[in-house]
Structures are given as structure tokens and as C-alpha cells.
Amino acid sequence: DARVTQTPRDKVTEMGQEVTMRCQPILGHNTVFWYRQTMMQGLELLAYFRNRAPLDDSGMPKDRFSAEMPDATLATLKIQPSEPRDSAVYFCASGTGTGKDTQYFGPGTRLTVL
């Protein structure tokens, strides 16, 4: 049963520290999405990639967030420096990139910035 994996599952850090979240999409999927979920804002799309190229990252605060896909099996989301308002659950999802695309979500990374 193919699944999206994310690491770490939980991360507690102090303000100002760098945070790196990793995602392994389902093998063969060519589209990767990064979402952030909070009680106040719900599910927000931060960025998405197709064939490892970033197609849209307009949802990300550019000054501190960056997303990359070093290879087809790894997507990363970095926050530097982190701030308390970044506390949220970050989800990665992968898909096949068509109009009928189903997004398969990972378990999420719960980030707490103190």
C-alpha cells in the first residue's frame, strides 16, 4: 500500500531556529503539494511542484520559507528563521498531476515554535 511519508512527525523548536521538513511522495507521482493547516486558517496551499519544478509558491512567505525537490523521491520545506506564528501542521501530498488527480496526503508534521 503506497503512502506518502513525512518526517519528522513532531517538531518543537525555538524561535529563530531553522526547521526542515521532509516528504517522500508516492513512487511514480509527479506532483507534490505542501499545505499548512491551522485552526484559524484551515488548509492553506503553500506550494506545489510538477516533475520537480516549482509551479506555484505564492502561498509561502518568501522571506523565510523555501521548498525544493532535490530528486523525485524527496521534497523539502524549510523555514529559516522560524517564528511562533509558523506553528501548525504541515502536510505534504502527492498526485499524478491530471484534472482527475487525487491528492494523497502524508500524516503531517506538527510544528511548534516556542
Binding site: 488548509l43 496551499l45 499524478t96 498531476g97 484534472g99 482527475k100 491528492q103 496526503f105 500524516p107
Partner: protein, 110 residues
């Protein structure tokens, strides 16, 4: 982007049929409608997808009228384990920038 509107919450009892409607007035010709379910501390999970008319699978049915400006997720005979948040998502041919709405929190009571 097709904006979606759903009721914030719904209550039901075990064994009842639940219908959740989503409005998407500015849906584009090539957009698909997909419904997801999310339990606490988990990522959203695919339930059903459709383009027009009716789609049925082992867990739900999806009704889409001819004008496609809304869709209704139907859950037959819900159980306590169906308590979750349900999202409808409208997305285009390139799986591009699709936006999850606020979702509907369904609470199933015994």
C-alpha cells in the same frame, strides 16, 4: 479559482443518510469535483470524485446537477466512525492551484 462554500457543521445519528452540499458557482468547464475526509491528527483522505451526474463507490455517492454549480456528497447509513471534517475541492486539468474550503464538520451521534 473555483471558490467552494459548504456548511460549517452538521449533526446526524447513526444509521441515517447524510447529505453535504458544496457550492462552486464559478467552476470551469474542465474542473473536477473531489471530496476528502479528514480525521483529527491525520491528513485528508480521498472519498469520491466526479465531473457530472452521479458517481457511486463503496463508501459514498456524489450527485452533480447539470449546471455543475454545486455537488452533494451522500453518505449512506453513517456510523460513529464517520465523524470527521469533509472537504470538497474543485481542481482543473493541470491539478493546479486548487483551494480547500473550510470543510464541513460532521458529528455522528449514537
Amino acid at each position: 479559482l473555483a471558490k467552494t462554500t459548504q456548511p460549517i457543521s452538521m449533526d446526524s445519528y447513526e444509521g441515517q443518510e447524510v447529505n453535504i452540499t458544496c457550492s462552486h458557482n464559478n467552476i470551469a468547464t474542465n474542473d473536477y469535483i473531489t471530496w476528502y475526509q479528514q480525521f483529527p491528527s491525520q491528513g485528508p483522505r480521498f472519498i469520491i470524485q466526479g465531473y457530472k451526474t452521479k458517481v457511486t463507490n463503496e463508501v459514498a455517492s456524489l450527485f452533480i446537477p447539470a449546471d455543475r454549480k454545486s455537488s452533494t456528497l451522500s453518505l449512506p447509513r453513517v456510523s460513529l466512525s464517520d465523524t470527521a471534517v469533509y472537504y470538497c475541492l474543485v481542481s482543473g486539468p493541470n491539478a493546479g492551484k486548487s483551494t480547500f474550503g473550510d470543510g464541513t464538520t460532521l458529528t455522528v451521534k449514537p
